[in-house]
């Protein structure tokens, strides 16, 4: 039977403490020489006469996890990685809070840095996730990725 894909979804904002704890957890993996971390933060964009106050994230979870599993497999075969962790928020994340935490580790820096960049691009392009920007004037707008 196929392995169940790892869950990447995290309810609400990702606390800074989790990021610190996850770094600490890797101290026991002594073949790692480099971590590359990407953090996505909710930005206070101006939209019309309102400002973004938060983003509400929804997803097609089953499809997103399957797709994430394929992305993971392809990056592991392309780069010499030790490990890869992805956490994406669901539900409401306020301005200034973290909504995406990507953590890639390898023996040497180049693999971690390149795989991390490629992974973030794939997450944005290929995962069925949608953000609804909640404005401070009661309006809301479906987010569009640049």
């Amino acid at each position: 039977m196929e392995k169940t894909p790892k869950n990447i979804f995290f309810e609400g904002p990702i606390p800074a403490q989790k990021i610190a704890d996850d770094i600490q957890k890797h101290a026991s993996k002594k073949d790692i020489g480099a971590h590359s971390i990407f953090l996505g933060q909710v930005r206070e964009d101006q939209i019309g006469d309102g400002q973004v106050a938060a983003i509400d994230y929804t997803c097609y979870q089953e499809m997103a996890l399957e797709k994430m599993h394929q992305i993971r497999e392809s990056l592991f075969s392309k780069y010499a990685l030790t490990c890869m962790h992805v956490h994406h928020s669901l539900g409401r994340v306020a301005v200034g809070e973290i909504c995406l935490f990507v953590f890639v580790s390898s023996k040497h820096r180049q693999a971690a840095i390149e795989a991390c960049t490629e992974l973030v691009e794939s997450i944005k392009k290929e995962l069925p996730i949608w953000g609804k920007e909640i404005l401070n004037n009661q309006a809301s707008v479906w987010k569009q990725n640049q």
Binding site: C99, L127, P128, W130
Partner: protein
Amino acid sequence: MELLIFGSLTDIIGTDKLVLENPLDTELLKASLLKKYPSLEQTNYFLALNKIMVQEKKPLQEGDVVALMPAFSGG
């Protein structure tokens, strides 16, 4: 068949899930949705059949799950 609706399309269709009498194929499904929800015409969306993106006409069977998805905006 079951129709899952995501993102901005939930505003147009007014729900995130519909159970439909099986249309014969994905093109007939799109045509019947467009008839019922004309503002779909102004929206670009993708269709996934049982979690696989489909671009061409595919036959639909009992138990299929079709998802209507606008452009992704994660991260």
